[in-house]
Amino acid sequence: MNSLTDRLVSLMIGSAAALVAAVLGWVLLDILYRGIGDLSWEFLAQPPEDAGRSGGIAPIIVSTMLILMVALIAAVPLSLSAAAALAQQRHRRFGWAWIASRCLDVLAAVPSVVFGLFGNAFFCVALGMGYSILAGGLTLACMILPILIHTTEHGLRAVPADYHYAAASLGLSRTTTFFRITLPAALPAIAAGLVLGIGRALAETAALIFTAGYVTRQPESLMGSGRSMSVHIFDMAMNVPAGDGRANATAALLVAMLLIINAAAMSLASKASAKLSGQTAEDMNSRQYV
């Protein structure tokens, strides 16, 4: 009886896991199958022609990368500082840190199109940036802040208190402890957060169509308008008759870029964490030896 229930349950959870994996596999295969026909070197190297139905997406890739760069340069230092401040307040319940992290929860739940309208009103119109890569990148930075801060804060909190006590006993200042001990130990978690943030930023369409804009020309500066790959996919699939092939090819490229970025960030993080944990193990051994 018991073993029958056990088997049933394990069958159920096993098939649920298989289903989740199958969905990912299906999406990837479908995009690759539909997009691979239009993928070529010309597609990567040429500007779009005939409303995007022929030619390539070279300027769009450049714009996407510039928008992402602006977003990360604006968001990473800010989120690191904010997370450090929040993580310091680890024992207090109701204070500014509590209010700040509840605010971040709300910010994380704001739909991206709202960020788009905000970015258009604030960066494009109020600050006079116009439709520009800078405005788009800063809007994305606002959007990925909650993810970056949350993951970084959790990473910083997970650093064992022993490290801090050891550092204090050696007479290190709090700043030195943070930069030389806490931050390196939290690097894998920060990298994971960065991967999530980059994923959300690369996928974003609604926030960018009103801020970075629709222009397919090679961007001349950060103040120029530039179309991101996600906006291009949306436009090809929705506004351009017979644009489906190019939309799928762009989607395949975007997915490939995401997978590469994910793999790179994860391997960097695991290398850093392997080094760190290796050292901790050594420490433990020597301590036992003593």
């Binding site: 230092p77 439709y131 390196p184 690097l187 009103f210 629709y214 929705m238 506004n239 760190l276």
Partner: protein, 323 residues
């Protein structure tokens, strides 16, 4: 300028710290690697930030789009912002590209967001030219419209639907919820899925005006955004009825999407019939401006209306206007 910002001289105003901490590296963290050290090195961040600020500010002096144009010896130069109808945007992008090739000093930025946004942006001065895929309304007499092409709106059904034509009363009945089965229109016993456009879409206004339906009376099953969305919805539902731009629907039907265009008032829904002016449910595609005082705006609008761009109009499945 960039190089100076990245590598400031020793006596530069920017505080340029040497190795940030004076305390020896604690035991156990030594071998994290050079990359981590670079990231943790404060002077690296100072240089990076200085570089980014320099890159950001450098081009800022000349890029704000206010449509300022000047005649130089080489012809026109300046920057225009065009926003509005997502139907018209792909066409204007192509025309703008050709215009930029003919006038190398000109940059035209085409943005999208719908006819309503185009009109609002022209009024607020955010854009120099708006794109509107409908005629101007009575409360928009402060603006001028310049027709650059035409587009028809057609009813579409799934390819397998045996119904060949719907009367005015049947269409009104279906869209106001009085008819909900194809049996009532001479078709199979199949419920009707009414596909309707979202508020603010120009095709919606053309459709409602032609059939004289008030939008609040419409009982829709599906609300779609743009033409491709509408076509995909109808192609995916055997009992669906929708309405989309003829140019788009004609291409999709020809490339194998399972939809069929229904005639309106006995006239076949083809781009040829729209061009000849016979097809009743059609709309103009307009550029909208406050005035043509700016020579760059005037030249671009005239270029969009000229025969030089007719091949591009046809390539985007619209119907060119013969003067």
């Amino acid at each position: 300028m960039l190089a100076r910002a990245l590598y400031p001289p020793k006596n530069h105003l920017i505080h340029h710290p040497t190795t940030p901490v004076g305390i020896e590296t604690p035991v156990g963290i030594e071998s994290i690697g050079a990359s981590c050290r670079l990231i943790l090195n404060a002077s690296f961040w100072v240089r990076l930030c200085a570089g980014v600020i320099a890159v950001t500010l450098m081009p800022g002096c000349h890029t704000r789009s206010d449509g300022a144009a000047e005649i130089t010896s080489s012809g026109l130069s300046g920057r225009l912002t065009v926003t509005g109808s997502s139907t018209l945007a792909p066409l204007v992008v192509e025309i703008a590209k050709r215009f930029e090739q003919l006038n190398p000093g000109v940059r035209i930025d085409v943005q999208t967001g719908g006819t309503g946004k185009g009109i609002a942006d022209v009024r607020s001065g955010v854009a120099d030219i708006g794109m509107a895929s409908r005629p101007l309304k009575g409360n928009e007499t402060d603006l001028n419209a310049y027709k650059i092409a035409a587009d028809g709106v057609s009813l579409i059904v799934h390819e397998s639907n045996p119904v060949q034509e719907l009367t005015q009363r049947q269409v009104v009945g279906i869209y106001t919820g009085k008819i909900d089965n194809w049996l009532q229109c001479g078709g199979r016993d199949q419920s009707i899925q009414v596909v309707h456009k979202a508020e603010g879409r120009a095709t919606l206004e053309v459709f409602l005006k032609h059939f004289q339906i008030d939008n609040p009376d419409v009982k829709a099953d599906v609300i779609v955004g743009d033409n491709q969305h509408g076509i995909k919805t109808v192609a995916g539902a055997v009992g669906a009825l929708g309405y989309v731009s003829i140019g788009t629907a004609e291409v999709e039907a020809a490339t194998g999407t399972p939809i069929r265009l229904l005639p309106v008032g006995g006239i076949a829904a083809t781009t040829a019939k729209v061009a000849s002016g016979e097809f009743p449910m059609s709309r103009p595609l307009n550029l909208v401006t406050i005035d043509l005082a700016n020579p760059l705006v005037r030249t671009f609008v005239e270029f969009c209306q000229s025969e030089e761009v007719h091949d591009q109009v046809v390539a985007q499945y619209f119907v060119p206007i013969k003067k």
